[in-house]
């Protein structure tokens, strides 16, 4: 019986290379009808390239794609959709100023009368429990709701294979659960799902099969329900995972970094203003700020780092000393270091050598420049220390920052700040787009810095990261910060609701607040 039903999708020896990289090296696997198949791998493992070839955005250099047993050439996304392949991208392509209905109509290959389209959309939403108001303007919707538009758009084509690219990276825990319900229902109806992610517990909860890629090669195809998260992670990174050592029973010192009533108007048109943010971090404590992307995290980092000084000097203090009005350079001299989310062009200058990038933030604290004159020797020496202490893979201190991989550049940036021994360190998304090995190393360094008596603030959209790393936690939503919670006592349900804020889950949040 089993052999008589052809596989929905089968890849045979797919190879794709770009100048300087072999993105996929003879990758073969297959997806059965109704199967939820995980495609697992670190950043740069070749997942996206593989999926782009399945969806017709790129063509393989070698190998064969079979669809329901027949070899096919998928010339472009339109051809993919005609075969019955739908895709929900990680970054949505929606027009902010148009309604849900208009956005869906624009994305269709053929034109459908509006009334008919609306009734079909309502049918789909009804069938899968996707709550969405067709006449709402997209700019008023939460990220979770926007994703639902993309899912509805894909389902309108009645696909028999749905590709989901990192769908949960922008969702609250509750939204993730709702998404899984929809995906399971689709699978039960016979639609295959190719689920791309690097979140192991999600894959264990959702998927029937997992194909693991590393460095463009297929490492293993396994059953995630019998594997442990750890065993899959080790296959993904190709070495055994270092356990993070967090000293037990740590004691915290006095309040070191205090933010009180910090407000800042929106910086740009689509930016979020900061509203009355207050929290305090003790010496030795790691304070986490959770939240869905786009809720004021970037503005908060700019305000804390000094890139956007605020009017009220007392809004930000270190050891009681006010520094709200100071710029980044002066705050660094007072012991406040920071790492923004964007590595290229913000935390580091890609065209500059690592030595020059060290001058960018360490010139005063490490005396890489004295009375306005650079000391290139000192800069090289300090950069060498960073490279050595943080195991940065680079050709040397004169390698350009842009030539490093994301993980290595992040290790360098974190090392550059940590070796300055700041009293306070504020980081935004410290392990975003970083491989698991580098992420573990960065986490360990943060814990060690805290153990040495620094106060640390970690802003992250990865709740698991915050729960394993931080002592205290608060949630940012729409530029407002929730009360602080001890991580040991924190209730995931409540954190999820706070992350959802007034968007989407409005009633539930009011219930919690009451």
């Amino acid at each position: 019986m089993e052999s008589s039903v052809p596989q929905r999708l089968e890849l045979r020896g797919i190879t794709k290379s770009f100048p300087g990289v072999l993105a996929n090296d003879h990758v073969s696997f297959s997806v059965a009808p109704g199967e939820i198949h995980a495609l697992l791998g670190e950043n740069g493992a070749g997942k996206s390239t593989l999926v782009k070839m399945i969806y017709g955005i790129m063509q393989p250099d070698e190998g064969e794609i079979r669809w329901n047993g027949q070899p096919v050439v998928i010339a472009n996304p339109k051809a993919a959709r005609r075969l019955g392949i739908g895709m929900v991208f990680q970054h949505f392509s929606l027009f902010e100023a148009l309604t849900v209905l208009e956005n869906i109509a624009l994305g269709l290959d053929m034109s459908v009368p509006q009334r008919e389209l609306e009734s079909r959309i309502r049918d789909i939403m009804q069938a899968y429990g996707l709550k969405l108001e067709p006449h709402r303007i997209v700019s008023t919707l939460s990220v979770g709701e926007r994703q639902r538009i993309e899912i509805v758009r894909a389902l309108l084509l009645d696909p028999s294979l749905l590709i989901m690219d990192e769908p949960t990276s922008v969702l609250t825990p509750q939204e993730v659960e709702q998404l899984f319900v929809v995906l399971r229902q689709l699978a039960k109806e016979g639609c295959s799902i190719l689920y791309i992610s690097h979140k192991l517990n999600e894959i264990k909860a959702l998927c029937d099969t997992a194909t693991i890629l590393r460095g463009g090669r297929l490492v293993d195809t396994c059953d995630p329900r019998v594997e442990t998260s750890r065993s899959m992670a080790e296959k993904m990174i190709g070495s055994s995972l270092k356990t993070i050592v967090k000293p037990e029973g740590r004691t915290f010192g006095a309040e070191k970094f205090v933010v009180k009533g910090l407000s800042m108007p929106a910086l740009g048109h689509f930016d979020i203003p900061l509203r009355d943010i207050s929290f305090s971090v003790r010496a030795g404590e790691i304070f986490g700020i959770a939240g869905v992307a786009g809720n004021g995290q970037n503005a908060l980092l700019l305000a804390l780092s000094g890139e956007e000084p605020v009017a009220d000097a007392a809004a930000i203090t270190i050891d009681g000393e006010p520094l709200g009005t100071l710029d980044a350079k002066s705050r660094r001299l007072k012991g406040l270091a920071s790492v923004p989310e964007e590595r290229n062009g913000h935390a580091a200058v890609p065209d500059f050598s690592l030595s020059d990038n060290s001058v960018l933030t360490a010139r005063d604290r490490r005396r890489l420049a004295v009375s306005g004159i650079l000391r290139p020797g000192a800069a090289r020496k300090y950069t060498g220390e960073v490279i050595k202490a943080f195991a940065v893979k680079a050709t040397g201190t004169e390698a350009t920052a842009g030539s490093l991989s994301g993980g290595n550049l992040q290790k360098y940036i974190m090392g550059r700040e940590i070796l300055q021994r700041p009293g306070v360190l504020v980081v935004n998304q410290p392990t975003w787009g970083v491989d698991a090995g580098a992420a573990a190393a960065i986490h360990q360094e943060l814990i060690d810095l805290a153990a040495a008596g620094s106060a640390i603030v970690v802003i992250s959209q990865d709740l698991d990261e915050l729960l394993s790393l931080c002592d205290t936690l608060a949630v940012i939503n729409e530029g407002r910060l929730s009360r602080s919670m001890q991580v040991g006592e924190a209730d995931i349900e409540e954190i999820g609701l706070l992350m959802g804020g007034i968007h989407g889950e409005g009633e539930a949040v009011h219930a919690v607040e009451a």
Partner: protein, 358 residues
């Protein structure tokens, strides 16, 4: 089969050096073709413009005279352009610098002393910087595009010069000519090579370029200019103020343009006259780019452009080429350089139809 521009993984180092050379060579070839088509002796024009000044030893001093102001202005412009501040009004700052320095010169015309010349130079720099401070203020305070303001102010400066020469600056002994008094011996740049017209401004240009090179490579200020120009967010993160950088870039480029202006008045011209503006401020834009915005590259580029200027004068006399022809050659050089810059960062690749993403 068709061609597509594709970004290189890393800009080609070799092409970065070859691009200016290639641009000059292409200018020579295209220039010869264009002027032949226009009915001139195209090959002869190219020979007179690019070769004669180099192989005729008595023309070398002319090169020094033309190159000095170009280099001084272009060094300032490359500092400004590196910071992504587009000062294209160096011509105006050059004129106002000369006006300010000449003002001191008129007041001190009957005096003697070693201090007069440095004072005039300082006044020239201050004048150029002050004139550049207007666009700096408008840009920082009201976000007014400095490309427009610097350019417009350079036209205004010509009228300021005309007014001053017609009235307050006019020499009492000029018999009605709109010109100032001749500068005295203590106000004129000394000749440094006996028997030539090479004056002190030539070595000064080299020194200015060397100092700028040192500042770029060894001073936090040069670092700041580079960071603000390439990665403004990183600059703010590193604690460098974008506004302060705009101010400094415009003040420095303005001061150097003004410095070049006063040196020109104290040197080759000897006084301020109506014909004083000689487009050095605009030509220096070409020099700055041809020199890759690098102070030492600017020295070479300044000499190269001076060759075309001197050669243009030769060609006017020998084969009757119009004076505007030099401008065409210089513009072609800039155009081809900017064009070849694309090839440094990108390359052409042939693609088959159908394999492009829909």
């Amino acid at each position: 089969m068709r061609w597509r521009l594709e970004k290189r993984q890393e800009p080609s180092k070799l092409l970065q050096v070859l691009a200016p050379v290639g641009a000059v060579l292409l200018t020579v070839v295209l220039g010869a073709i264009i002027f032949t088509l226009l009915g001139y002796d195209g090959v002869g024009a190219v020979r007179e413009i690019f070769l004669t000044p180099l192989i005729t030893s008595y023309k070398w001093q002319d090169l020094a005279v033309k190159a000095a102001p170009l280099i001084i202005i272009a060094v300032g412009l490359s500092i400004s352009y590196r910071a992504n501040v587009w000062n294209i009004g160096a011509e105006g700052q050059y004129i106002v610098g000369a006006i300010a320095g000449t003002g001191v010169g008129i007041l001190t015309n009957s005096m003697t002393g070693w201090w007069i010349m440095p004072l005039m130079m300082l006044a020239g720099m201050a004048g150029g910087a002050a004139y550049a401070s207007v666009p700096a203020f408008l840009r920082v305070r009201f976000k007014v595009n400095e490309i427009l303001t610097t350019l417009m102010l350079s036209y205004a400066s010509v009228y300021l010069l005309n007014y001053l020469l017609a009235c307050p600056y006019k020499s009492p002994t000029s018999m009605g000519q709109p010109q100032t008094v001749m500068f005295s011996a203590d106000q004129s740049l000394p000749y440094i090579i006996p028997g030539t017209i090479v004056q002190l401004n030539a070595p000064i240009a080299i020194v200015v370029a060397l100092i700028a090179w040192l500042v770029f490579s060894r001073f936090v200020f040069g670092f700041q200019i580079r960071v603000v120009g390439t990665a403004p967010h990183a600059a703010r993160y590193g604690g460098f103020s974008a506004d302060r950088t705009i101010w400094l870039a415009l003040l420095i480029s303005g001061a150097l343009a003004g410095f070049a202006g006063v040196l020109e008045a104290m040197g080759p011209v000897g006084r301020l006259i109506l014909q004083f503006p000689a487009n050095y401020g605009f030509t220096a834009i070409i020099v700055a780019f041809l020199g890759r915005l690098h102070p030492l590259g600017v020295v070479l580029a300044g000499l190269a452009v001076a060759v075309t200027a001197v050669g243009g004068e030769v060609a006017q006399i020998t084969i009757g080429l119009p004076f505007a022809a030099v401008g065409i050659f210089q513009a072609m050089m800039l155009f081809l350089l900017l064009g070849s810059d694309i090839l440094v960062r990108y390359r052409f690749r042939s693609v088959r139809h159908g394999s492009v993403a829909a």
